[in-house]
Amino acid sequence: MDFGLSPEQEMLRETVGRCLAETCPLDHVRACADSGSAASDRVMAALADIGLTGLMVPEAQGGLGMTLLDAAVVAEQLGRAVAPAPFLARSVLAPLALVLAGSPAQQAQWLPRIATGEVRFGVAIAGIVEERDGAKVRAESAGLTGTALFALDFADADHFIVADESGRLHLLDAAANGVERIALHTIDATRSVGELRLSGAAAEPLAGDGGVAARRLRDAGRILLAADSLGAGEAMIEKAVAYAGEREQFGRVIGSFQAVKHMCAEMAARHEPCRALVWYAAHAFDAAPGEAALMACHAKSHTGEVHRFVARTATEVHGGMGFTDLLGLHFWFKRIGFDRQVLGGPERVRDEAAQLQGLTATTQ
C-alpha cells in the first residue's frame, strides 16, 4: 500500500520542473504572450528532448508508454510555470485517442510521428460536454460539416481529432478542403484554442467504438486541467507567501499580520487535499476505469472551485501590485480561469457526476 508518486514519477516531476525553470522563466512567458504565440519553441524543444512528445505513445510505437498519472505530474509542472506549451491535446489526448480507438493501421501511421513531433495534433471535443451557440459537427458521407468550438492546442496543429455530435472521433487534416480555422483569443495567452468551421471536410473516422473513446478523452482532459490548475495554484500560494514575507507596512512584514496569514493558511488548507484528489483521479483513469469518470468530475470541479479562490486570494495578498501587469501574477490567475471553464465548469461537471451515480430524476 503506497498512495503517492513513485520514485520514477518524483524524478519526472523534478526533471520537468528543472527544465521549465531553465527554459521558461516569467519574462519568457511574457514574451510569448506579447507576441501572440501560445507555443514556445524553446520550451517545446526542451520538453521534446526529455521525450514528452511521446509520453503517451506506446513503447512499440517509439514513445515512452507512460500513464495518465505520469502525464498529470507533467501537467502540474506546466501549470506551475504557466508554460506556453501545447501538451494537453498534442501530447496526451491525441495519442490517447489513437490508442483507444485507432485501428492498427491508424496507430502505426500516426503514433510514431506523434512521438517524434513530426505531426502536431489539436483535439476538438468540447461539443460532447455542452453545445453552445448551436455548435456541433455532423458526420456525413461527404465529410464533416458544422462547427467545433474550443479546439485545444489549436494554433500550430496540422491535424485534429474531432468528435462529432454522436461522440464518434474523426481524424482531420487541417489543410483539407472545407476546413476554416478561426483562432479564439481567451484570457489565457499561454494556451491556444480555436474554432473549426467544417463544410464537407474529408475526415477519417477512428475505427474503434465512438463515444466511449471520446468520453475517455474528456475524462483525461479534465484530470489534466485539474493537474495544471494544481500547479498554477501552488505557484500562486508560494508567491503570495513570499511576497507577504518581504512587503512591509506599519513597520512589519505583512505576513506577520494574522489577517494575511489566515488568507495564506486558507489557501493552503483548501489546496493541499486537491493534490491527493488529482492523483487518485489519474490513478483511477489508469487502473480503476469504473471510477474514472466520476473521479475526473470531482477533480475538475473541486480544483476549479479551490483554485478560483486561490487565484483571487493570492492576488489580494499582493495588494495593488497583484492587480498590475508588473509582477505577472495575472498569468497564473488567467491560467486557472481557463482550466476552470474548459471541458465543463464546476456546475456542469457536478451535474454529470450526479447523473453518473444515478442521483438525478431525469436520467434514471
Binding site: 498512495f3 503517492g4 483548501r270 456546475e347 430524476a361
Partner: protein, 407 residues
C-alpha cells in the same frame, strides 16, 4: 501508486472480519464517547483488548495487547469496524490523552496503577486544561497549586470539562510557580474527582444538553507525588498529547459515513412529489461536498502512506483538523437545508427526521470547529509551521526567550 495492502495484510483483514462476524452482535449501539460507559460498552472494550483490536500496541504489563506498532494493521482495524458499522473501543479522553501521556512521561508506579483500569473502562477521566480566561491562549491559565508539606493545595476554576460529572479522576494543568514565565510555571497533576473542595456545575450548550461542565477547586489537597513529569514542566507534558486530540477530530471514515447518510436523506425527503435531491441547487451542493470528502479521504491515504515510510506529515497532515471539522459542519448544514422547515424541529417534536440527529450535529460540530484549537489557531499553525510565515511579534519574543514547544 499501489493501493493493495498485500497478502499478509489481507490475511489480517480476514481475521478482523471473522472476529466481527462472530462477535459484532455484542457491540454497544454507539462508541460511548461522552458519558460513563455502559456495562455493554465495558464488556465490548474488554473483548477488544483481549483480541488486540484496541490498545493494540500498549505493553501487556500495563493491560494492552503488546503488539508491534503497525500503521496498516491499525488502519485495517479501523476500516473493517467502520465497514461493519460497529464501534471500536472506548475513545474517551482518559484513553486517548492520559494513557499516551503516562506511557511517555509517567513513573512506573503511575503506569501500573492507572493505565490498565483506564483501558478496561473501570476508571473514567476528565481533562482539566481550559479556563474561562485561558482558551486559545491556554498557557495563561491561572488555577494555582501551592505546595504545603506533602500536598499541593489547588484553587481556581476549569471550564469545558466534559464528563466531569461521571469521572472518577481528572488530569489537570495548574500553575505551581506564579513568578515563572507563563509556559514555565505549569504542572500536570492527576487526582480523584471526589476530593473535598471540588464542585462541578453542568454547562448547558446551544444543543440544549450539558456536554461540558465548569469545575471549581477550593483548597483541594493533592499529594505531591500525583504529578506527571517534573514540576513546572506541565506545559511540555500536556503538549506531548495535544496532537492526539487533534488527530481524533479528522476521521475521513466518519465524513464518508455522514455523507452517505445525507445522500439517503436527500433521496427520501419529499418536497411535493419530488425528492429533495432532484432540486438542482441542493444536488449541486451535495456533489461539491462529495468531491471534498473524496479529497480528504485520499489526503488521509497520502498521510498514512507517509507515516508508513516514516516521513513527516507536512502540510497534508496539518490541514486535516481545520478542513474536516468545517466539512462535517457543511454536511450537516446541507441536511438542514434539505429538510427545509422540518430542519428546525428539535427535542421530541413530532415530524422530525432521524431523531433530530442532524440538528444536534449541526450545532455540536460548531463546537468541534472551536474545540481542540479554534479554526483561527489552526490557521496560525498552518501559516507558521506549514508555510513558515512569521510569528506574531509578541509570540516571537516568547519563543526566543526559550519556551519549549512540541508539535
Amino acid at each position: 501508486m499501489n493501493l493493495d495492502y498485500g497478502p499478509e495484510y489481507e490475511r489480517f483483514r480476514a481475521e478482523v472480519r471473522d472476529f466481527l462476524d462472530r462477535n459484532g452482535q455484542l457491540a454497544p449501539d454507539s462508541a460511548n464517547r461522552a458519558a460513563r460507559p455502559s456495562a455493554e460498552a465495558v464488556a465490548w472494550q474488554n473483548l477488544l483488548l483481549e483480541h488486540g483490536y484496541t490498545a493494540r500496541t500498549i505493553p501487556r504489563e500495563y493491560g494492552g495487547y503488546g503488539a508491534e506498532p503497525d500503521i496498516l494493521k491499525a488502519r485495517i482495524i479501523a476500516e473493517e469496524f467502520a465497514r461493519a458499522g460497529v464501534p471500536g473501543g472506548l475513545s474517551n479522553q482518559g484513553i486517548s490523552m492520559l494513557v499516551p501521556t503516562l506511557l511517555e512521561l509517567g513513573t512506573e508506579e503511575q503506569k501500573r496503577r492507572w493505565i490498565e483500569p483506564t483501558l478496561r473502562g473501570e476508571v473514567v477521566w476528565c481533562q482539566g486544561y481550559s479556563e474561562p480566561g485561558a482558551g486559545s491562549d491556554l498557557a495563561s491559565l491561572r488555577t494555582s497549586a501551592r505546595e504545603e508539606n506533602v500536598h499541593f493545595v489547588i484553587n481556581g476554576q476549569k471550564i469545558w470539562t466534559s464528563t466531569a460529572r461521571q469521572a472518577d479522576m481528572i488530569f489537570c494543568l495548574v500553575r505551581t510557580e506564579s513568578e515563572a514565565p507563563k509556559h514555565a510555571g505549569i504542572s500536570y497533576l492527576i487526582f480523584p474527582m471526589d476530593l473535598p473542595g471540588i464542585e462541578v456545575c453542568p454547562l448547558k450548550t446551544m444543543t440544549g444538553h450539558a456536554e461540558f461542565n465548569e469545575t471549581f477547586f477550593t483548597d483541594v489537597r493533592v499529594p505531591v507525588d500525583q504529578i506527571v513529569g517534573l514540576r513546572g514542566q506541565g506545559w511540555f507534558v500536556a503538549n506531548a498529547t495535544l496532537g492526539h486530540e487533534r488527530g481524533m477530530l479528522g476521521d475521513p471514515d466518519a465524513l464518508e459515513n455522514r455523507l452517505l447518510a445525507l445522500i439517503r436523506l436527500m433521496q427520501e425527503e419529499q418536497v411535493g412529489s419530488a425528492r429533495a435531491i432532484d432540486n438542482p441547487v441542493l444536488r449541486d451542493r451535495l456533489i461539491a461536498l462529495q468531491a471534498e470528502v473524496a479529497a480528504m479521504k485520499y489526503n488521509g491515504m497520502r498521510v498514512l502512506s507517509g507515516q508508513i515510510k516514516g516521513e513527516p506529515g507536512g502540510m497534508a497532515k496539518l490541514i486535516v483538523k481545520l478542513q474536516s471539522c468545517e466539512l462535517a459542519h457543511q454536511i450537516s448544514a446541507l441536511a438542514i437545508d434539505t429538510m427545509g422547515e422540518m430542519g428546525i424541529l428539535y427535542a421530541d417534536s413530532p415530524r422530525q427526521r432521524e431523531g433530530g440527529t442532524w440538528q444536534w450535529n449541526y450545532m455540536f460540530q460548531l463546537g468541534l470547529i472551536i474545540g481542540g484549537g479554534t479554526a483561527q489557531i489552526q490557521k496560525n499553525i498552518i501559516a507558521e509551521r506549514g508555510l513558515n510565515m512569521p510569528r506574531e511579534p509578541r509570540l516571537a519574543q516568547e519563543a526566543s526567550s526559550g519556551r519549549k514547544e512540541v508539535a
